[in-house]
């Protein structure tokens, strides 16, 4: 344990209560749906109820005649206009798709937009949808990925001649065939990483309005990515970028689901410009479940090769990834974001990776909390457990034998990443201590021996992940069309108050508090005197927004450099006013003093005022006091941890209960441990949600069966226990703050921990996998199948 690194006298490292909360607990909020501008027109969307069909005829006349209806638009009104786009064409020969803002002649998933009503009131816009008459010619729906790739399959995009979107074989290190030939044991499994729905508590919402003084259109959107959205809106609509302002006001969760450019945003901007009036739309939850992009949805064929004494030699990873009907912002890249993480924390000689993207008549997929890394971590942590079972080894012992030892860092993995630091031994030791492994194993043995109907299983996940998206050159090499830098401007105002402008765009992460803590330590101004400005391209013009646990790892660096530049400028002014050389000035906690003569001193606030009056500045120093930095990260950072789950499985009913969960994470230096812990809790709930409760289900005609919150089950308070959490602290060395990332760790680590625990509980009954979610039905089916197979 190296906890002492976290004990600082400054603001960093303290569990400061959040600045954000005063507004949020009193209802003094600014959600997009709260915005009510005079003269607003409301959008309502007619969405396809059929997964795949030709639009033969649309009659909008009755809707147009209805009360309050101003316009009804169909695809014919916007020929060729894209509603979204893909910025990550992952291979040279990828088959791209056109995602129309409104479908012109064919619908490709249930929820696809057929028409839009513009009316004076929300209820009236919705009423008019019922009056639109559409004739469809139903086409065969393509739902199953493997069937989609079979010869003669009907096509999602008939003009493309194939449902195959891309295949990305990645030449990682080593020759898998060679290591497999010398292996004593080869274990093969097919894992299904099911389709998930992000389910942010705030549904999507947009307001677009011409604001009068200029040609500018302002778009308020419940988005994670106002900066990226502005660029893409300009490219897709032809409205000059300098006439677009995008504001992400209070945003109620994102989890990747709001890392997107959506057709509703595009249409709102186009119509606000065209009609010269504010346009507003807030989706219903049912609409959101159908049309906010989905996540995961991979078939993972995994093979691991090892020696008989448990040395892992290599892995083969072949993925089928469901794109859904169209490619959106990073649809094809999302499964590839995990490709560097399949070896996890383990040393191996070879990794063979291949991913094939497939079109189907379903909602497009894209980033969802962890984006590729949860899938990779699930696969490696599950297959390691299966290997342990095959070898008859304790699963933790097998992990310890193969993981990178703390003295071996920096370590270059088989995928070619260099992990800077880590201490898997320390995190595991702490987790085992908190978990009470020996007692639980003893109870497990008793339950097995007595044939108890409720069996106990222990699930292990020793994970790592990569945070800090991303060095821009790396992104370029991966064919991603943007960079991964981050910006910060810190302004010291004449009254001594601070404005910190960040390009990150929080939606629950507490940046206003944490960024103030970082800046406070650097510029020596109290946390409460720092106002953090974000989420508005008008006030924060440069940024790359918030996703991929990048905000602190990358944005934090920009805060540090900007703060240091401000301090240095103020030092020159202080030296001038105190009549010494800048080298003779000491800076400590906001005060500049003369070395050896501490009575001669001034404060950063006083200098801010004199930089404003500019009456007494040294020659060549410009008025005003600020520091600005745009930082491109040198490398990624690699949080890790050990998670342990105790799972009870009722072998008669299939019911699974999570009894105890221990998470020891190592995210390096913690700026605010309270916020870190909150991120861990929330990530756990989502990862556990995937493992135990959630799954988007389609029928063979492409109808989404889990189409309401009553059918798509996110965990409730009654479904989860309190968590036991702790941290070890192994600072990152890839950047000066030593932080890593924590936003996705819980979601990445917990899914395999839960499933490993469920399988461990019933492995002696012949079960070696249970489909997610581990619902009573899926567990019962696994037990039945094992029984039929004649296993013990």
């Amino acid at each position: 344990m190296t906890d002492t690194l976290n004990e600082t006298v400054g603001a960093i490292g303290r569990p400061i209560r959040r600045k954000e909360d005063a507004r949020l607990v009193t209802g003094n909020t600014n959600w997009t749906d709260n915005i009510q501008l005079p003269g607003t027109l409301h959008m309502a969307f007619l969405r396809s109820s059929i997964a795949h069909a030709k639009i033969v005829r649309i009659d909008t006349s009755a809707a147009l005649a209805a009360e309050g209806v101003i316009h009804v638009y169909t695809g014919a009104d916007f020929p060729g206009q894209p509603g979204s786009t893909c910025v990550w064409p992952v291979t040279d020969d990828i088959v791209l798709s056109h995602y129309p803002v409104i479908c012109e002649d064919e619908v490709k998933y249930v929820g696809d937009v057929v028409a839009v009503v513009i009316a004076t009131e929300k209820y009236l816009a919705t009423d008019a949808l019922d009056l639109i008459d559409v004739d469809y010619e139903v086409l065969p729906a393509i739902v199953d990925m493997e069937a989609a790739l079979a010869d003669g399959s009907p096509l999602v995009h008939s003009d493309k001649g194939t449902n195959h979107c891309y295949t990305a074989p990645v030449p990682f290190g080593g020759d898998y065939a060679e290591v497999k030939a010398k292996a004593d044991v080869v274990v093969t499994r097919r894992f299904i990483n099911q389709r998930l729905i992000p389910t942010t508590m705030e549904p999507r919402a947009v307001v677009a309005a011409p604001m009068g003084m200029t040609d500018e259109i302002t778009l308020w959107s419940a988005t994670q990515v106002p900066h990226i959205l502005r660029v893409l809106l300009a490219l897709l609509t032809g409205i000059p970028e300098n006439n677009l302002r995008v504001i992400a006001p209070d945003v109620g969760g994102g989890f990747g689901g709001k890392l997107q450019i959506y057709r509703e945003e595009v249409l709102a901007v186009i119509l606000a410009k065209k009609l010269g009036r504010p346009i507003k739309w807030t989706e219903t939850r049912s609409e959101s479940i159908l049309t906010m992009h989905h996540g995961r949805d991979q078939i993972q064929d995994i093979e691991i090769a090892a020696t008989s004494d448990g040395q892992i030699l290599g892995m083969q990873v072949h993925l089928l990834a469901d794109m859904g009907a169209y490619l959106q912002i990073i649809t094809p890249g999302t499964p590839l974001l995990g490709m560097f993480m399949y070896s996890g924390i383990y040393k191996m000689e070879a990794l063979d990776f291949k991913c094939t993207g497939v079109y189907t008549n379903k909602t497009p997929t894209d980033a969802y909390r962890g984006a590729g890394r949860p899938e990779a971590t699930f696969a490696v942590e599950r297959i390691v457990d299966e290997l342990a079972a095959e070898l008859g080894m304790d699963p933790m012992e097998l992990r310890m034998k193969n993981w990178i030892k703390h003295e071996e860092f920096p370590y270059t993995t088989v995928e070619g990443l260099t992990y800077d630091t880590g201490n898997y031994e320390a995190a595991t030791a702490r987790a085992l201590e908190l978990f009470g492994m020996e007692e639980l194993r003893a109870e497990q043995a008793v339950r097995r021996a007595t044939g108890d109907k409720v069996q106990l299983g222990i699930g292990i996940s020793t994970f790592t992940e990569m945070c800090g998206l991303a060095p821009s050159r790396t992104l370029g090499a991966l064919k991603y069309v943007a960079g991964g830098w981050e910006h910060c401007t810190i302004r010291a105002l004449p009254t001594g108050k601070i404005e910190l402008v960040t390009g990150t765009s929080p939606h629950g992460q507490g940046h206003a508090t944490a960024w103030s803590q970082i800046a406070s330590d650097i510029i020596g101004v109290p946390v409460e005197d720092i106002e953090v400005i974000y989420g508005d391209t008008g006030r924060s013009p440069y940024g790359m927004d918030t996703y991929g646990s990048r905000s602190l790892a990358v944005g934090g660096q920009a805060i540090k450099v900007a703060g240091e530049r401000l301090v240095e400028k103020a030092r020159i002014i202080a030296a001038h006013q105190l009549e010494v050389s800048p080298d003779d000035i000491e800076f400590n906690a906001g005060t500049y003093s003369v070395k050896g003569d501490p009575e001669k001193a001034t404060t950063i606030q006083a200098i801010a005022f004199s930089a404003f009056t500019a009456h007494n500045l040294p020659d060549g120093v410009e008025p005003t006091l600020s520091g600005e930095a745009t930082v491109d990260p040198m490398d990624f950072s690699y949080p890790h941890g050990t998670h342990l789950a105790a799972m009870e499985v009722d072998t008669e009913t299939g019911k699974v209960k999570l009894r105890k969960y221990v998470a020891v994470d190592d995210c390096g230096i913690q700026v605010n441990p309270m916020i870190v812990e909150g991120q861990v809790h929330g990530g756990l709930a989502q990862g556990i949600g995937q493992a135990m409760f959630e799954g988007a289900e389609y029928d063979s005609n492409g109808n989404l069966l889990t189409a309401s919150m009553g059918d798509y089950l996110i965990p409730s308070s009654a479904d989860l226990p309190s968590f036991i959490t702790d941290r070890t602290v192994t600072p990152s060395t890839t950047h000066p703050l030593g932080t890593k990332g924590i936003g996705e760790a819980g979601a990445i680590a917990s899914t395999p921990a839960i499933v490993n625990g469920v399988v461990d509980a019933i492995r002696h009954l012949g079960v070696n996998d249970v489909l997610m979610p581990t619902s009573p039905q899926n567990v019962y089916r696994a037990l039945k199948a094992a029984n039929k197979g004649g296993a013990a």
Binding site: Q36, M201, G683
Partner: protein, 156 residues
């Protein structure tokens, strides 16, 4: 249109509403009380929870006409002029919120829970709030916050 009047957050309010108008839409669109958000359309999430005559209801599941003559308290009327309700204080103190979208409903449901059961166990809190969904916190700190508020309100 139907005429209704009610006391909302301590103020007498009245208006003509369509019989089909949901309470949450009356609050948000007509009265401008946008502190109460809407999270779903199937009464699963509880984000829109308010108190009607002291009892928690999901305001997306109640018609505006049903509160005629009633007393409605939203998150915006919970604090007194100079002090937050103990549940509001506890949510901040325990980091019982992240994005904050479920928070108004979660706090109002907790207020009702504590009025019925001033000293709930962890299990009773988890059971009592299972109709209010949160996607950020994993509920861990929400449960802690409700326990803390219970202790403060009962003076222990």
């Amino acid at each position: 249109m139907t005429h209704i009047s009610a006391t909302v957050d301590g103020t007498h309010r009245q208006g003509e509403v369509e019989p089909r108008l949901l309470l949450v839409h009356w609050l948000r669109e007509n009265l401008g009380l946008v502190g109460t958000p809407i999270g779903c359309d199937t009464s699963n999430c509880g984000a829109c929870t308010v108190l009607v005559n002291g009892k928690s209801v999901k305001s997306c599941n109640v018609l505006a006409v049903q509160v005629d003559g009633a007393e409605v308290t939203t998150i915006q009327g919970l604090a007194s002029e100079d002090e937050w309700h103990p549940v509001q204080k506890a949510f901040k103190e325990c980091h019982g919120l992240q994005c904050g979208f479920c928070t108004p409903g979660m706090i109002m449901a907790s207020v009702d829970l504590l009025s019925e059961n001033p000293n709930p166990t962890e299990e009773e809190i988890r059971d009592g709030l299972h109709g209010n969904l949160c996607r950020c916190t994993g509920y861990h700190n929400i449960v802690k916050a409700v326990s803390m508020a219970a202790a403060e309100m009962s003076g222990s």
